[in-house]
Protein backbone atom coordinates (compact mmCIF):
# COMPACT_ATOMS: atom_id res chain seq x y z
CA UNK A 1 0.00 0.00 0.00
CA UNK A 2 2.75 2.37 0.89
CA UNK A 3 4.51 1.34 -2.23
CA UNK A 4 1.44 2.07 -4.23
CA UNK A 5 1.22 5.36 -2.51
CA UNK A 6 4.73 6.29 -3.40
CA UNK A 7 4.18 5.19 -6.91
CA UNK A 8 1.13 7.28 -7.12
CA UNK A 9 2.85 10.25 -5.68
CA UNK A 10 5.74 9.86 -8.00
CA UNK A 11 3.58 9.53 -11.02
CA UNK A 12 1.50 12.37 -9.81
CA UNK A 13 4.49 14.59 -9.56
CA UNK A 14 5.69 13.59 -12.93
CA UNK A 15 2.33 14.31 -14.33
CA UNK A 16 2.19 17.74 -12.90
CA UNK A 17 5.36 18.70 -14.55
CA UNK A 18 3.90 18.08 -17.95
CA UNK A 19 1.51 20.21 -19.80
CA UNK A 20 -1.40 21.05 -17.72
CA UNK A 21 -4.20 19.43 -19.68
CA UNK A 22 -2.21 16.33 -20.46
CA UNK A 23 -0.77 16.20 -17.04
CA UNK A 24 -4.11 16.65 -15.45
CA UNK A 25 -5.56 13.90 -17.54
CA UNK A 26 -2.82 11.52 -16.72
CA UNK A 27 -3.02 12.44 -13.08
CA UNK A 28 -6.70 11.77 -13.06
CA UNK A 29 -6.11 8.47 -14.71
CA UNK A 30 -3.61 7.41 -12.17
CA UNK A 31 -5.86 8.53 -9.39
CA UNK A 32 -8.69 6.54 -10.80
CA UNK A 33 -6.48 3.51 -11.11
CA UNK A 34 -5.49 3.68 -7.53
CA UNK A 35 -9.04 4.15 -6.47
CA UNK A 36 -10.06 1.14 -8.48
CA UNK A 37 -7.33 -0.94 -6.97
CA UNK A 38 -8.40 0.11 -3.57
CA UNK A 39 -11.96 -0.84 -4.34
CA UNK A 40 -11.00 -4.30 -5.52
CA UNK A 41 -8.85 -4.85 -2.48
CA UNK A 42 -11.65 -3.72 -0.24
CA UNK A 43 -13.91 -6.19 -1.94
CA UNK A 44 -11.42 -8.94 -1.39
CA UNK A 45 -11.07 -8.19 2.26
CA UNK A 46 -14.80 -7.99 2.67
CA UNK A 47 -15.10 -11.46 1.26
CA UNK A 48 -12.47 -12.69 3.65
CA UNK A 49 -14.36 -11.20 6.52
CA UNK A 50 -17.56 -12.87 5.43
CA UNK A 51 -15.79 -16.18 5.18
CA UNK A 52 -14.52 -15.85 8.67
CA UNK A 53 -17.96 -15.07 9.93
CA UNK A 54 -19.45 -18.15 8.35
CA UNK A 55 -16.57 -20.14 9.78
CA UNK A 56 -17.40 -18.87 13.20
CA UNK A 57 -20.97 -19.94 12.73
CA UNK A 58 -19.82 -23.39 11.80
CA UNK A 59 -17.55 -23.58 14.79
CA UNK A 60 -20.43 -22.69 17.04
CA UNK A 61 -22.64 -25.45 15.79
CA UNK A 62 -19.99 -28.09 15.23
CA UNK A 63 -19.58 -29.39 18.79
CA UNK A 64 -23.33 -29.76 19.14
CA UNK A 65 -23.20 -33.33 18.00
CA UNK A 66 -20.64 -36.01 18.74
CA UNK A 67 -20.49 -37.05 15.11
CA UNK A 68 -22.03 -36.00 11.84
CA UNK A 69 -22.98 -38.06 8.80
CA UNK A 70 -21.45 -36.38 5.82
CA UNK A 71 -20.44 -36.98 2.26
CA UNK A 72 -16.70 -37.03 2.27
CA UNK A 73 -14.94 -35.78 -0.87
CA UNK A 74 -13.00 -38.58 -2.37
CA UNK A 75 -10.60 -37.20 -4.83
CA UNK A 76 -11.63 -34.39 -7.10
CA UNK A 77 -14.67 -36.05 -8.60
CA UNK A 78 -16.27 -38.27 -6.01
CA UNK A 79 -17.81 -38.29 -2.63
CA UNK A 80 -18.48 -41.08 -0.24
CA UNK A 81 -20.60 -41.24 2.85
CA UNK A 82 -18.74 -40.92 6.09
CA UNK A 83 -18.79 -39.59 9.59
CA UNK A 84 -17.32 -36.49 11.08
CA UNK A 85 -15.99 -37.36 14.52
CA UNK A 86 -14.13 -35.57 17.31
CA UNK A 87 -16.10 -32.56 16.49
CA UNK A 88 -14.44 -30.44 19.13
CA UNK A 89 -10.87 -31.15 18.12
CA UNK A 90 -9.56 -28.83 15.50
CA UNK A 91 -6.14 -28.42 13.95
CA UNK A 92 -5.77 -24.78 13.14
CA UNK A 93 -3.26 -23.33 10.72
CA UNK A 94 -1.61 -20.44 12.46
CA UNK A 95 0.37 -19.33 9.46
CA UNK A 96 3.85 -19.99 8.17
CA UNK A 97 3.48 -23.76 8.41
CA UNK A 98 2.54 -23.74 12.06
CA UNK A 99 -0.42 -25.75 13.31
CA UNK A 100 -2.11 -26.00 16.64
CA UNK A 101 -4.63 -28.43 18.02
CA UNK A 102 -7.39 -26.68 19.86
CA UNK A 103 -11.04 -26.83 20.72
CA UNK A 104 -13.79 -25.13 18.84
CA UNK A 105 -14.04 -22.32 21.30
CA UNK A 106 -10.31 -21.67 21.16
CA UNK A 107 -10.51 -21.71 17.42
CA UNK A 108 -13.26 -19.16 17.68
CA UNK A 109 -10.97 -16.89 19.64
CA UNK A 110 -8.30 -17.24 16.99
CA UNK A 111 -10.75 -16.37 14.29
CA UNK A 112 -11.82 -13.31 16.18
CA UNK A 113 -8.23 -12.24 16.40
CA UNK A 114 -7.78 -12.65 12.69
CA UNK A 115 -10.90 -10.76 11.94
CA UNK A 116 -9.44 -7.82 13.80
CA UNK A 117 -6.53 -7.77 11.42
CA UNK A 118 -8.82 -7.88 8.47
CA UNK A 119 -10.77 -4.96 9.80
CA UNK A 120 -7.60 -2.95 10.19
CA UNK A 121 -6.62 -3.65 6.63
CA UNK A 122 -10.06 -2.64 5.47
CA UNK A 123 -9.89 0.64 7.35
CA UNK A 124 -6.55 1.46 5.85
CA UNK A 125 -7.81 0.75 2.40
CA UNK A 126 -10.83 2.91 2.94
CA UNK A 127 -8.66 5.73 4.04
CA UNK A 128 -6.41 5.43 1.07
CA UNK A 129 -9.34 5.27 -1.26
CA UNK A 130 -10.88 8.35 0.21
CA UNK A 131 -7.58 10.12 0.03
CA UNK A 132 -7.09 9.39 -3.60
CA UNK A 133 -10.67 10.14 -4.35
CA UNK A 134 -10.15 13.57 -2.92
CA UNK A 135 -7.05 13.99 -4.95
CA UNK A 136 -8.87 13.04 -8.08
CA UNK A 137 -11.61 15.49 -7.30
CA UNK A 138 -9.10 18.15 -6.67
CA UNK A 139 -7.44 17.61 -9.99
CA UNK A 140 -10.83 17.87 -11.56
CA UNK A 141 -11.40 21.13 -9.85
CA UNK A 142 -7.99 22.30 -10.81
CA UNK A 143 -8.69 21.55 -14.39
CA UNK A 144 -11.94 23.39 -14.22
CA UNK A 145 -10.38 26.28 -12.51
CA UNK A 146 -7.64 26.70 -14.99
CA UNK A 147 -9.56 25.71 -18.04
CA UNK A 148 -13.24 26.18 -17.77
CA UNK A 149 -14.60 29.09 -15.99
CA UNK A 150 -17.93 27.61 -15.24
CA UNK A 151 -19.02 27.57 -11.75
CA UNK A 152 -16.13 29.59 -10.59
CA UNK A 153 -16.53 33.15 -9.67
CA UNK A 154 -13.63 35.29 -9.10
CA UNK A 155 -14.30 37.83 -6.49
CA UNK A 156 -12.11 40.77 -6.72
CA UNK A 157 -11.99 44.07 -5.22
CA UNK A 158 -11.15 46.52 -7.80
CA UNK A 159 -8.92 49.24 -6.81
CA UNK A 160 -9.74 51.87 -9.27
CA UNK A 161 -7.81 54.99 -9.19
CA UNK A 162 -4.91 53.52 -7.50
CA UNK A 163 -3.42 56.91 -7.76
CA UNK A 164 -6.14 58.26 -5.68
CA UNK A 165 -5.35 55.73 -3.15
CA UNK A 166 -1.78 56.56 -3.14
CA UNK A 167 -2.44 60.17 -3.41
CA UNK A 168 -4.55 59.95 -0.41
CA UNK A 169 -1.69 58.50 1.40
CA UNK A 170 0.33 60.90 3.20
CA UNK A 171 3.37 59.98 1.34
CA UNK A 172 2.20 61.23 -1.94
CA UNK A 173 0.27 64.03 -0.49
CA UNK A 174 3.13 64.97 1.55
CA UNK A 175 5.40 65.26 -1.33
CA UNK A 176 4.08 68.59 -2.31
CA UNK A 177 3.89 69.51 1.32
CA UNK A 178 6.87 67.66 2.31
CA UNK A 179 8.99 70.66 2.47
CA UNK A 180 6.84 72.62 4.76
CA UNK A 181 6.38 69.59 6.87
CA UNK A 182 9.98 69.00 7.02
CA UNK A 183 10.50 72.48 8.01
CA UNK A 184 8.00 72.00 10.65
CA UNK A 185 9.75 69.03 11.90
CA UNK A 186 13.02 70.67 11.71
CA UNK A 187 11.74 73.55 13.63
CA UNK A 188 10.46 71.38 16.29
CA UNK A 189 13.63 69.47 16.53
CA UNK A 190 12.03 67.74 19.32
CA UNK A 191 12.02 64.46 17.67
CA UNK A 192 15.01 63.71 15.72
CA UNK A 193 13.08 60.83 14.49
CA UNK A 194 10.92 63.09 12.53
CA UNK A 195 13.79 64.34 10.56
CA UNK A 196 15.04 60.96 10.01
CA UNK A 197 11.70 59.85 9.05
CA UNK A 198 11.35 62.62 6.63
CA UNK A 199 14.44 61.58 4.94
CA UNK A 200 13.45 58.05 5.10
CA UNK A 201 10.17 58.93 3.77
CA UNK A 202 11.52 60.61 0.80
CA UNK A 203 13.73 57.78 -0.06
CA UNK A 204 11.50 55.03 1.01
CA UNK A 205 8.36 56.56 -0.22
CA UNK A 206 7.83 54.08 -2.87
CA UNK A 207 8.48 51.15 -0.71
CA UNK A 208 6.23 52.50 1.93
CA UNK A 209 3.58 53.12 -0.56
CA UNK A 210 3.84 49.67 -1.81
CA UNK A 211 3.68 48.36 1.65
CA UNK A 212 0.82 50.62 2.34
CA UNK A 213 -1.04 49.36 -0.65
CA UNK A 214 -0.35 45.87 0.34
CA UNK A 215 -1.48 46.47 3.87
CA UNK A 216 -4.60 48.08 2.68
CA UNK A 217 -5.24 45.15 0.51
CA UNK A 218 -4.80 42.82 3.36
CA UNK A 219 -6.98 44.91 5.53
CA UNK A 220 -9.65 44.91 2.98
CA UNK A 221 -9.52 41.21 2.70
CA UNK A 222 -9.69 40.89 6.38
CA UNK A 223 -12.60 43.15 6.54
CA UNK A 224 -14.35 41.29 3.84
CA UNK A 225 -13.87 38.12 5.68
CA UNK A 226 -14.98 39.68 8.83
CA UNK A 227 -18.00 41.10 7.21
CA UNK A 228 -19.03 37.81 5.89
CA UNK A 229 -18.31 36.30 9.17
CA UNK A 230 -20.37 38.75 10.95
CA UNK A 231 -23.17 38.52 8.56
CA UNK A 232 -23.26 34.82 8.84
CA UNK A 233 -22.78 34.29 12.43
CA UNK A 234 -25.06 35.23 15.15
CA UNK A 235 -22.38 35.49 17.67
CA UNK A 236 -21.17 38.82 16.63
CA UNK A 237 -19.12 39.47 19.62
CA UNK A 238 -16.97 36.49 19.33
CA UNK A 239 -16.50 36.90 15.70
CA UNK A 240 -16.06 40.52 15.85
CA UNK A 241 -13.35 40.28 18.32
CA UNK A 242 -11.57 37.74 16.29
CA UNK A 243 -12.01 39.63 13.12
CA UNK A 244 -11.19 42.83 14.74
CA UNK A 245 -8.15 41.33 16.23
CA UNK A 246 -7.20 40.19 12.81
CA UNK A 247 -7.74 43.59 11.50
CA UNK A 248 -5.79 44.93 14.29
CA UNK A 249 -2.91 42.87 13.32
CA UNK A 250 -3.20 44.07 9.85
CA UNK A 251 -3.56 47.58 10.97
CA UNK A 252 -0.64 47.11 13.18
CA UNK A 253 1.47 46.02 10.38
CA UNK A 254 0.13 48.81 8.34
CA UNK A 255 0.72 51.26 11.08
CA UNK A 256 4.17 49.98 11.46
CA UNK A 257 4.80 50.85 7.93
CA UNK A 258 3.13 54.10 8.10
CA UNK A 259 4.65 55.16 11.27
CA UNK A 260 7.54 56.64 9.51
CA UNK A 261 5.38 58.62 7.29
CA UNK A 262 3.16 59.64 10.06
CA UNK A 263 5.77 60.69 12.35
CA UNK A 264 7.08 62.98 9.84
CA UNK A 265 3.92 64.74 9.91
CA UNK A 266 3.33 65.05 13.51
CA UNK A 267 0.35 66.65 14.83
CA UNK A 268 1.81 70.02 14.46
CA UNK A 269 1.19 70.03 10.87
CA UNK A 270 -1.53 72.33 9.85
CA UNK A 271 -4.85 70.76 9.56
CA UNK A 272 -4.72 70.57 5.85
CA UNK A 273 -1.53 68.70 5.90
CA UNK A 274 -2.60 66.51 8.66
CA UNK A 275 -5.70 65.84 6.82
CA UNK A 276 -3.59 64.77 4.01
CA UNK A 277 -1.63 62.62 6.24
CA UNK A 278 -4.67 61.22 7.73
CA UNK A 279 -6.02 60.70 4.38
CA UNK A 280 -2.98 58.88 3.31
CA UNK A 281 -2.70 56.94 6.44
CA UNK A 282 -6.24 56.20 6.65
CA UNK A 283 -6.53 55.79 3.02
CA UNK A 284 -9.12 53.40 3.92
CA UNK A 285 -12.66 53.07 3.23
CA UNK A 286 -14.63 56.11 3.66
CA UNK A 287 -17.99 56.01 5.05
CA UNK A 288 -19.16 55.15 1.70
CA UNK A 289 -20.62 51.87 1.25
CA UNK A 290 -19.24 50.09 -1.58
CA UNK A 291 -21.41 48.21 -3.84
CA UNK A 292 -20.61 45.10 -5.56
CA UNK A 293 -19.91 46.16 -8.98
CA UNK A 294 -19.35 43.91 -11.83
CA UNK A 295 -16.98 45.96 -13.69
CA UNK A 296 -14.30 45.20 -16.09
CA UNK A 297 -14.42 41.50 -16.40
CA UNK A 298 -11.00 41.05 -17.64
CA UNK A 299 -10.66 37.41 -16.74
CA UNK A 300 -12.09 34.42 -18.33
CA UNK A 301 -13.83 33.78 -15.07
CA UNK A 302 -16.93 35.69 -14.27
CA UNK A 303 -15.73 38.12 -11.79
CA UNK A 304 -17.51 39.80 -9.05
CA UNK A 305 -15.88 43.02 -8.31
CA UNK A 306 -16.34 43.84 -4.82
CA UNK A 307 -15.47 47.05 -3.26
CA UNK A 308 -15.06 47.33 0.32
CA UNK A 309 -17.82 48.84 2.26
CA UNK A 310 -17.01 51.16 4.96
CA UNK A 311 -19.89 50.21 7.07
CA UNK A 312 -19.68 50.86 10.60
CA UNK A 313 -21.70 47.94 11.33
CA UNK A 314 -18.46 46.52 12.14
CA UNK A 315 -18.33 48.44 15.23
CA UNK A 316 -18.04 45.81 17.77
CA UNK A 317 -18.38 45.51 21.34
CA UNK A 318 -15.01 45.07 22.56
CA UNK A 319 -14.84 41.95 24.51
CA UNK A 320 -11.17 41.64 24.15
CA UNK A 321 -8.74 44.32 23.63
CA UNK A 322 -7.66 46.10 20.62
CA UNK A 323 -10.31 45.42 18.19
CA UNK A 324 -9.83 47.68 15.37
CA UNK A 325 -11.98 46.41 12.71
CA UNK A 326 -13.52 49.74 12.39
CA UNK A 327 -10.28 51.30 11.92
CA UNK A 328 -9.25 49.45 8.93
CA UNK A 329 -12.71 49.65 7.63
CA UNK A 330 -12.70 53.31 7.91
CA UNK A 331 -9.49 53.51 6.14
CA UNK A 332 -10.81 51.50 3.35
CA UNK A 333 -13.93 53.42 3.28
CA UNK A 334 -12.09 56.61 3.17
CA UNK A 335 -9.87 55.38 0.50
CA UNK A 336 -12.76 54.21 -1.49
CA UNK A 337 -14.64 57.33 -0.92
CA UNK A 338 -11.73 59.29 -2.02
CA UNK A 339 -11.24 57.12 -4.96
CA UNK A 340 -14.80 57.29 -5.86
CA UNK A 341 -14.83 60.90 -5.50
CA UNK A 342 -11.93 61.30 -7.73
CA UNK A 343 -12.91 58.74 -10.20
CA UNK A 344 -16.42 59.86 -10.13
CA UNK A 345 -17.46 56.37 -10.87
CA UNK A 346 -19.24 54.23 -8.45
CA UNK A 347 -21.27 55.90 -5.92
CA UNK A 348 -20.37 59.28 -7.05
CA UNK A 349 -20.83 61.71 -4.34
CA UNK A 350 -22.89 59.50 -2.28
CA UNK A 351 -20.87 59.74 0.75
CA UNK A 352 -19.74 63.14 0.20
CA UNK A 353 -23.10 64.59 -0.39
CA UNK A 354 -24.24 63.71 3.08
CA UNK A 355 -25.45 60.47 1.88
CA UNK A 356 -25.21 58.72 5.11
CA UNK A 357 -25.08 55.09 4.45
CA UNK A 358 -23.00 54.06 7.32
CA UNK A 359 -22.17 55.24 10.72
CA UNK A 360 -19.01 56.64 9.41
CA UNK A 361 -20.97 58.97 7.26
CA UNK A 362 -22.72 60.30 10.22
CA UNK A 363 -19.56 60.87 11.98
CA UNK A 364 -18.25 62.67 9.12
CA UNK A 365 -21.23 64.83 9.06
CA UNK A 366 -21.13 65.45 12.68
CA UNK A 367 -17.60 66.19 12.66
CA UNK A 368 -18.21 68.95 10.35
CA UNK A 369 -21.01 70.21 12.42
CA UNK A 370 -19.29 70.11 15.66
CA UNK A 371 -16.14 71.71 14.73
CA UNK A 372 -15.10 73.83 11.98
CA UNK A 373 -12.29 71.45 11.71
CA UNK A 374 -13.25 67.89 11.53
CA UNK A 375 -9.75 66.87 11.10
CA UNK A 376 -8.60 67.21 14.57
CA UNK A 377 -11.53 65.30 15.77
CA UNK A 378 -10.88 62.57 13.46
CA UNK A 379 -7.37 62.42 14.39
CA UNK A 380 -8.22 62.36 17.96
CA UNK A 381 -10.58 59.61 17.54
CA UNK A 382 -8.18 57.76 15.51
CA UNK A 383 -5.46 58.22 17.90
CA UNK A 384 -7.63 56.90 20.57
CA UNK A 385 -8.75 54.01 18.60
CA UNK A 386 -5.25 53.51 17.58
CA UNK A 387 -4.02 53.54 20.99
CA UNK A 388 -6.27 50.77 21.82
CA UNK A 389 -5.83 48.97 18.66
CA UNK A 390 -2.44 48.15 17.58
CA UNK A 391 -3.22 48.20 13.97
CA UNK A 392 -5.06 51.39 14.00
CA UNK A 393 -3.10 52.88 11.36
CA UNK A 394 -5.98 54.02 9.41
CA UNK A 395 -5.30 57.53 10.32
CA UNK A 396 -2.11 58.85 9.23
CA UNK A 397 -1.14 60.40 12.41
CA UNK A 398 0.72 58.20 14.65
CA UNK A 399 -0.21 57.88 18.19
CA UNK A 400 1.91 60.81 18.96
CA UNK A 401 0.10 62.73 16.42
CA UNK A 402 -3.14 61.70 17.78
CA UNK A 403 -2.25 62.49 21.21
CA UNK A 404 -1.25 65.88 20.25
CA UNK A 405 -4.41 66.37 18.49
CA UNK A 406 -6.29 65.07 21.31
CA UNK A 407 -4.58 67.29 23.66
CA UNK A 408 -5.35 70.14 21.46
CA UNK A 409 -8.85 69.34 20.57
CA UNK A 410 -10.31 66.14 21.48
CA UNK A 411 -9.47 65.89 25.08
CA UNK A 412 -12.92 66.47 26.05
CA UNK A 413 -14.06 63.89 23.69
CA UNK A 414 -11.58 61.42 24.66
CA UNK A 415 -12.35 61.95 28.19
CA UNK A 416 -15.91 61.56 27.49
CA UNK A 417 -15.16 58.49 25.60
CA UNK A 418 -13.09 57.20 28.34
CA UNK A 419 -15.79 57.79 30.79
CA UNK A 420 -18.22 56.20 28.55
CA UNK A 421 -16.07 53.28 28.11
CA UNK A 422 -15.57 53.01 31.75
CA UNK A 423 -19.15 53.15 32.52
CA UNK A 424 -20.37 50.95 29.81
CA UNK A 425 -20.25 47.40 30.83
CA UNK A 426 -19.77 45.51 27.75
CA UNK A 427 -17.81 48.13 26.03
CA UNK A 428 -14.26 48.79 26.44
CA UNK A 429 -12.50 51.51 24.73
CA UNK A 430 -13.73 54.48 23.07
CA UNK A 431 -15.42 52.84 20.30
CA UNK A 432 -18.20 51.58 22.36
CA UNK A 433 -19.84 54.87 22.96
CA UNK A 434 -19.36 55.72 19.42
CA UNK A 435 -20.85 52.48 18.53
CA UNK A 436 -23.92 53.24 20.49
CA UNK A 437 -24.28 56.62 19.05
CA UNK A 438 -24.70 55.41 15.57
CA UNK A 439 -27.41 53.24 16.79
CA UNK A 440 -29.13 55.99 18.49
CA UNK A 441 -28.95 57.94 15.39
CA UNK A 442 -31.16 55.41 13.94
CA UNK A 443 -29.50 55.74 10.69
CA UNK A 444 -27.37 52.78 11.08
CA UNK A 445 -28.19 49.29 10.73
CA UNK A 446 -27.78 46.80 13.41
CA UNK A 447 -24.45 47.42 14.80
CA UNK A 448 -22.31 44.50 15.05
CA UNK A 449 -20.28 46.39 17.41
CA UNK A 450 -16.66 46.52 16.87
CA UNK A 451 -15.32 48.53 19.56
CA UNK A 452 -11.90 49.71 19.11
CA UNK A 453 -10.40 49.53 22.41
CA UNK A 454 -7.73 51.89 23.21
CA UNK A 455 -5.50 51.66 26.08
CA UNK A 456 -7.40 53.24 28.83
CA UNK A 457 -4.18 54.38 30.29
CA UNK A 458 -2.88 55.99 27.25
CA UNK A 459 -6.00 57.78 26.53
CA UNK A 460 -7.12 58.26 29.97
CA UNK A 461 -4.10 59.99 31.18
CA UNK A 462 -4.40 62.96 28.97
CA UNK A 463 -8.09 62.83 29.06
CA UNK A 464 -8.82 62.38 32.62
CA UNK A 465 -6.88 65.39 33.44
CA UNK A 466 -9.47 67.41 31.76
CA UNK A 467 -12.78 67.55 33.37
CA UNK A 468 -15.57 66.98 31.00
CA UNK A 469 -16.04 70.37 29.78
CA UNK A 470 -18.67 71.51 27.47
CA UNK A 471 -18.52 68.89 24.91
CA UNK A 472 -20.26 68.72 21.69
CA UNK A 473 -23.51 66.96 21.87
CA UNK A 474 -23.08 63.48 23.06
CA UNK A 475 -24.26 61.92 19.90
CA UNK A 476 -21.89 64.03 18.06
CA UNK A 477 -19.10 63.11 20.23
CA UNK A 478 -19.99 59.56 20.05
CA UNK A 479 -20.16 59.81 16.42
CA UNK A 480 -16.82 61.28 16.44
CA UNK A 481 -15.58 58.54 18.52
CA UNK A 482 -17.24 55.95 16.53
CA UNK A 483 -15.76 57.12 13.46
CA UNK A 484 -12.40 57.99 14.68
CA UNK A 485 -10.95 56.06 11.95
CA UNK A 486 -13.27 57.26 9.37
CA UNK A 487 -13.18 60.73 10.61
CA UNK A 488 -9.58 60.84 11.29
CA UNK A 489 -8.54 59.24 8.19
CA UNK A 490 -10.59 61.00 5.68
CA UNK A 491 -9.80 64.39 6.98
CA UNK A 492 -6.20 63.72 6.97
CA UNK A 493 -6.03 61.85 3.89
CA UNK A 494 -8.45 63.70 1.91
CA UNK A 495 -8.22 67.24 2.49
CA UNK A 496 -9.47 67.80 -0.96
CA UNK A 497 -12.23 65.48 -0.32
CA UNK A 498 -13.14 67.22 2.75
CA UNK A 499 -12.97 70.48 1.09
CA UNK A 500 -15.30 69.38 -1.59
CA UNK A 501 -17.56 67.83 0.91
CA UNK A 502 -17.59 70.87 2.98
CA UNK A 503 -18.31 72.88 0.00
CA UNK A 504 -21.04 70.57 -0.94
CA UNK A 505 -22.52 70.54 2.47
Amino acid sequence: MAYLHDQMAATGKVKRSKDLPQGVERLKEEHRKVVKDCRSQIEHWNKVEKDYESLQERLRTLPDKLSYDIMVPFGPLAFMPGKLVHTNELTVLLGDNWFAKCSAKQANTLVEHRKKHVKNALDDLQKVMKNFQNRADFTDDLKKLTGDTEGFLDIREEVINEEDFTKGKHRLAHKPNSKPKQEYLLELEEDKEKKEEDEERKTGLLSEEELWARLDELEREEELQDERFRLDSTDTNGEDTTSSSEEEKEAESGSGVQVNGHQKENGWVPSSITSQMNGTNGSHPEDEEVEDCDEEAGNGLPTIYFSHTAEFKKVRINTGKNTTLKFSERNEQKAQAKRKKKSGKRNGHSHEGYKITSPADIYRVFVDLVNGEPIPRKSILKSRSRENSVCSDTSESSTADFEERRAAFGRSWSHDDATHSDTSDGFTGEESPTGTSPRTNGRFEAFTGTVIEKDPLSCSIPHLTIAPPALPTIPERKLEEVGPEALQEPPKRMSKFKATRLHQT
Binding site: G95, W98, T109, H113
Partner: protein, 126 residues
Protein backbone atom coordinates in the same frame (compact mmCIF):
# COMPACT_ATOMS: atom_id res chain seq x y z
CA UNK B 1 32.12 11.12 -33.77
CA UNK B 2 28.40 10.88 -33.55
CA UNK B 3 28.55 7.15 -33.92
CA UNK B 4 31.00 6.78 -31.11
CA UNK B 5 28.73 8.78 -28.91
CA UNK B 6 25.84 6.68 -30.01
CA UNK B 7 27.64 3.52 -29.04
CA UNK B 8 28.48 4.96 -25.69
CA UNK B 9 24.90 5.98 -25.25
CA UNK B 10 23.72 2.48 -25.98
CA UNK B 11 26.04 0.87 -23.52
CA UNK B 12 25.10 3.32 -20.84
CA UNK B 13 21.46 2.74 -21.54
CA UNK B 14 21.88 -0.96 -21.16
CA UNK B 15 23.67 -0.58 -17.91
CA UNK B 16 20.93 1.66 -16.66
CA UNK B 17 18.26 -0.79 -17.65
CA UNK B 18 20.05 -3.57 -15.88
CA UNK B 19 20.21 -1.47 -12.78
CA UNK B 20 16.53 -0.78 -12.98
CA UNK B 21 15.78 -4.46 -13.18
CA UNK B 22 17.86 -5.12 -10.12
CA UNK B 23 16.02 -2.41 -8.30
CA UNK B 24 12.67 -3.88 -9.13
CA UNK B 25 13.84 -7.35 -8.11
CA UNK B 26 15.00 -6.13 -4.75
CA UNK B 27 11.73 -4.29 -4.38
CA UNK B 28 9.67 -7.40 -4.92
CA UNK B 29 11.87 -9.43 -2.59
CA UNK B 30 11.39 -6.79 0.04
CA UNK B 31 7.67 -6.90 -0.44
CA UNK B 32 7.67 -10.64 0.06
CA UNK B 33 9.62 -10.23 3.20
CA UNK B 34 7.12 -7.71 4.43
CA UNK B 35 4.28 -10.13 3.88
CA UNK B 36 6.15 -12.77 5.80
CA UNK B 37 6.74 -10.30 8.54
CA UNK B 38 3.06 -9.61 9.01
CA UNK B 39 2.25 -13.30 8.87
CA UNK B 40 4.79 -14.18 11.52
CA UNK B 41 3.46 -11.43 13.66
CA UNK B 42 0.00 -12.93 13.49
CA UNK B 43 1.37 -16.38 14.30
CA UNK B 44 3.16 -15.00 17.29
CA UNK B 45 0.01 -13.35 18.55
CA UNK B 46 -2.08 -16.45 18.06
CA UNK B 47 0.48 -18.60 19.80
CA UNK B 48 0.10 -16.25 22.65
CA UNK B 49 -3.62 -16.92 22.73
CA UNK B 50 -3.07 -20.66 23.12
CA UNK B 51 -2.15 -22.47 26.27
CA UNK B 52 0.21 -25.39 26.77
CA UNK B 53 -2.65 -27.84 26.65
CA UNK B 54 -2.85 -27.44 22.89
CA UNK B 55 -0.27 -29.27 20.86
CA UNK B 56 1.54 -27.28 18.26
CA UNK B 57 2.71 -28.84 15.04
CA UNK B 58 5.08 -27.65 12.42
CA UNK B 59 4.67 -28.69 8.83
CA UNK B 60 7.96 -29.87 7.48
CA UNK B 61 7.39 -31.21 4.01
CA UNK B 62 4.52 -33.69 4.18
CA UNK B 63 5.00 -34.26 7.90
CA UNK B 64 3.39 -32.54 10.85
CA UNK B 65 5.98 -32.51 13.58
CA UNK B 66 4.91 -31.98 17.12
CA UNK B 67 6.44 -28.96 18.76
CA UNK B 68 6.46 -27.52 22.21
CA UNK B 69 4.47 -24.34 22.63
CA UNK B 70 7.38 -22.45 24.12
CA UNK B 71 9.74 -23.78 21.53
CA UNK B 72 7.34 -22.71 18.86
CA UNK B 73 7.14 -19.27 20.32
CA UNK B 74 10.90 -18.94 20.43
CA UNK B 75 11.25 -20.17 16.88
CA UNK B 76 8.73 -17.73 15.61
CA UNK B 77 10.43 -14.87 17.40
CA UNK B 78 13.76 -15.83 15.91
CA UNK B 79 12.22 -15.98 12.49
CA UNK B 80 10.77 -12.54 12.98
CA UNK B 81 14.13 -11.12 13.87
CA UNK B 82 15.66 -12.76 10.84
CA UNK B 83 13.04 -11.29 8.60
CA UNK B 84 13.58 -7.83 10.02
CA UNK B 85 17.28 -8.11 9.41
CA UNK B 86 16.67 -9.16 5.84
CA UNK B 87 14.42 -6.24 5.28
CA UNK B 88 17.05 -3.88 6.55
CA UNK B 89 19.60 -5.38 4.26
CA UNK B 90 17.33 -5.01 1.30
CA UNK B 91 16.62 -1.45 2.26
CA UNK B 92 20.25 -0.46 2.15
CA UNK B 93 20.69 -2.37 -1.07
CA UNK B 94 17.83 -0.55 -2.64
CA UNK B 95 19.15 2.81 -1.60
CA UNK B 96 22.50 2.01 -3.03
CA UNK B 97 20.98 0.91 -6.28
CA UNK B 98 18.87 4.02 -6.42
CA UNK B 99 21.92 6.14 -6.05
CA UNK B 100 23.72 4.30 -8.78
CA UNK B 101 20.79 4.49 -11.11
CA UNK B 102 20.62 8.22 -10.49
CA UNK B 103 24.23 8.56 -11.49
CA UNK B 104 23.61 6.54 -14.58
CA UNK B 105 20.69 8.71 -15.44
CA UNK B 106 22.81 11.80 -15.30
CA UNK B 107 25.47 10.25 -17.44
CA UNK B 108 22.86 9.19 -19.90
CA UNK B 109 21.38 12.65 -20.17
CA UNK B 110 24.73 14.27 -20.71
CA UNK B 111 25.61 11.71 -23.32
CA UNK B 112 22.33 12.33 -25.00
CA UNK B 113 23.00 16.01 -25.16
CA UNK B 114 26.39 15.39 -26.63
CA UNK B 115 24.93 13.10 -29.16
CA UNK B 116 22.36 15.60 -30.22
CA UNK B 117 24.95 18.25 -30.54
CA UNK B 118 27.06 15.96 -32.63
CA UNK B 119 24.04 15.17 -34.72
CA UNK B 120 23.37 18.80 -35.22
CA UNK B 121 26.90 19.41 -36.28
CA UNK B 122 26.83 16.49 -38.64
CA UNK B 123 23.65 17.79 -40.18
CA UNK B 124 25.15 21.21 -40.44
CA UNK B 125 28.21 19.83 -42.10
CA UNK B 126 26.17 17.91 -44.49
Amino acid sequence: MAEAIQKKLQSELEKYQQLQKDVSKSMSARQKLEAQLTENNIVKEELGLLDSQNTVYKLIGPVLVKQDLDEAKATVSKRLEYINGEIQRYETLLKEMERKSEQHREVLSSLQQEYQRAQGQAVGKV
